[in-house]
Subunit: 187 residues, 2 copies
DNA sequence: CTGCACATTTACCGATCGGTACACCCGAAC
DNA sequence: GTTCGGGTGTACCGATCGGTAAATGTGCAG
């Protein structure tokens, strides 16, 4: 099986896991949804957990690339880009397939802090934090680390509430809160 | 079986679901952990879903009662109580059994917006929002509804990050952000 | 066409899933 | 002591779980 077939498998598995949850869908269901036979799947991945970890790696790359691109497209200055993070979020929340954050869900189902899936989820959030910090520093924030952590808190909260309550309100509230926190940090 | 036995079952099932996840633990494992036989469990609850819904009702009551009591004990004025929400959160995060929010996890595993479990999770967050709003209004906030939504966003984000990164930092960051948002609302 | 290598399908493994049928136990009524 | 009824453990149901072995294609070198 070619490498592109493997990528295709991971792509489709990502969609299936995102839609159904990790425990909720089995390897048989996955085989049906991806169009790849079980045997072929086990050629590429030793266990279901390995497949999940591969989908998380793909999702991390996908999401952060998408966010950076959208933020760069929406605003020019570091300060405006910090704020436009929440405009990008609003766009994401509006997608009909939106079902919260893959990594929040992953860490909900694999809660042991030492579990590889939990670790991968924590790492994704850490990389986002690093991105926020870079923008905050470039913008000249009083305490870039503190502001980045606050904005990340708002982002995660907005995702949770967009999933449970209203997507539009969740993004707008987080954005207005971010604006206030940024002003407080001198931006 | 007495009514108190039923309560005991729900109590123990709550712990088991919180520790393991909803899909991850089966009715056999639940019977073992609660000390109640499968037959007895099915006397009280027609399906696993019904049992889950009962545990969520208990958890909603437990958590909101606890929060209100802690907030009342920690501060006197409505303004100080708004802030002390995040001190109470910090206490919660420090508990060794802390494993994120039961309702975030529930909505992660049952994502369909119409699913009863998802609906129950959304309702829990709505009731928290109502509580926040009452405090914000009593404190004389400029826009109590908006402030309450912002603080709820911070709370949910703090829970997610306390679970994935550092509990202590997550609570402190949310608290400092809340302080700034409250000042901005005239408090 | 034959023979070989590889990919895919199919059937299966023991364990566990949510849920149920039933034999059993034990105290109360007589 | 006998009978009865409600709560109990146990054994079981078909389906599905994660994972595997072997049969069945399929394409290509000779």
């Amino acid at each position: 099986m070619s490498a592109s077939k493997r990528d295709e498998l991971v792509q489709n598995a990502l969609k299936a896991f995102y839609r159904s949850g990790f425990h909720a869908i089995g390897m048989d269901g996955l085989a049906k949804e991806t169009g790849v036979s079980k045997t072929a799947m086990y050629k590429h991945f030793r266990t279901k957990e390995d497949l999940i970890l591969a989908t998380l790696r793909l999702r991390d790359e996908q999401f952060r690339n998408w966010l950076v691109r959208r933020v760069e497209a929406l605003a020019e200055t570091p300060r405006d880009r910090l704020l436009s993070i929440f405009d990008a979020l609003a766009e994401w929340f509006r997608e009909p397939e939106f079902r919260s954050c893959m990594f929040i869900k992953a860490s909900s189902e694999y809660q042991d802090r030492n579990h590889p899936i939990h670790v991968a989820s924590a790492e994704h959030k850490r990389l986002l934090l690093v991105y926020f910090e870079g923008l905050a520093r470039a913008a000249g924030a009083a305490s870039p680390e503190a502001l980045a952590r606050q904005l990340l808190t708002l982002k995660e909260g907005a995702i949770v509430l967009a999933h449970l309550h209203d997507p539009e309100t969740a993004a707008a509230d987080a954005r207005s809160a971010a604006h206030i926190l940024m002003k407080n940090a001198g931006l």
